[in-house]
Amino acid sequence: MKRETVAKTEAETDEALGHDPYSRPMSLHIHFGMVNLDKPSGPSSHEVVAWVKRMLGLKHAGHGGTLDA
């Protein structure tokens, strides 16, 4: 679903500030990233989040909802 955009004004962005989402340094990319994970049906989503946090060295991670069996 692509929406049309309308420009209200012209403006430029300073390349020294922030990052294009596809060019973030790895640690930022991970921190602001998300994974479309095919979760196996055995472990709980809580467990899976714990594994992902450990794997990626994250303090915080969550999940966007899984199936209630």
């Binding site: 929406r3 209200k8 004004t9 500030l17 990319h29 602001f32 998300m34 794997m55």
Partner: protein, 234 residues
């Protein structure tokens, strides 16, 4: 359609039924239905209307019916199966379910397994390259694909990161069709997500006017200080 879901479901009928009758009954369920959430749901158990956008049989093998369904968020496919069983008169239950799409996330878009993630992660950690991990971990902005956006100028970004509402002069460009009170995302000119917000004006109003508050900031995403604070301090 914002948070529409798609599933593939295996349903077990409790008696033998002619294929044509099964297919006809499945077709009846496309459209608007009533549902009361099941006992084990963590949601208020009031009867509610849900939309089933499509429901198509994939395979019918005796009493086992494989179908795919596209529906509004909050539709219980398990209940749809038992209701189909009631209409057929024989009873039925859901035996397997796989969600194939949730909003912008679908099976054919960067779906990965735990193994894929672990392998890509290990490769990165031992210095064998980060391309795989970058392909698996998506920028969170991809989660907002279906949500209308307003792009704001650099000088407005840090104020938003501190929770300020968006004033019309901060708007550079915006999506068509934004309605007042709808959920939107405020983006930087580099397409970074800055904050989730609620539109206080429609697209037309924002384009026409040169002052006023265009949106109320609801949830800041970008850390303050990413862009310098350029608003006037008293």
């Amino acid at each position: 359609m914002l948070s529409g879901k798609e599933y593939v479901c295996l349903m077990q009928l409790h008696e033998d039924i002619a294929e044509q009758r099964i297919a006809d009954t499945l077709a009846e369920f496309a459209g608007e239905i009533f549902q009361r959430p099941p006992l084990r749901a963590s949601v208020k158990r009031a009867v509610r209307r849900r939309k089933i956008y499509s429901l198509d049989a994939l395979e019918i093998d005796g009493r086992r019916v494989l179908f795919k369904v596209a529906c509004q968020a909050g539709t219980y496919v398990r209940k749809v199966c038992s209701d189909i069983g009631e209409v057929l008169g024989c009873g039925a239950h859901m035996s397997e379910l796989r969600r194939t799409r949730a909003g912008p996330f679908s099976e054919d878009r960067n779906l990965c397994s735990m193994y894929d993630l672990l392998n890509a992660c290990d490769r990165w950690k031992v210095g064998k390259g980060e391309e795989e991990l970058r392909a698996i971990i998506r920028p969170m902005e991809e989660a907002f694909e279906f949500i209308p956006k307003i792009c704001i100028r650099d000088s407005a970004v840090d104020a938003i990161c501190h929770g300020a509402d968006l004033a019309v002069p901060g708007v550079v460009k915006l999506d068509q069709g934004i309605a007042t009170n709808s959920s939107i995302v405020l983006m930087s000119l580099k397409a970074e997500a800055v904050a989730l917000a609620k539109a206080l004006m429609s697209t037309e109003q924002i384009v026409e006017q040169d002052h006023g508050i265009a949106a109320k900031t609801v949830r800041v995403i970008m850390p303050p200080g990413t862009y310098p604070s350029l608003w006037k301090k008293t």
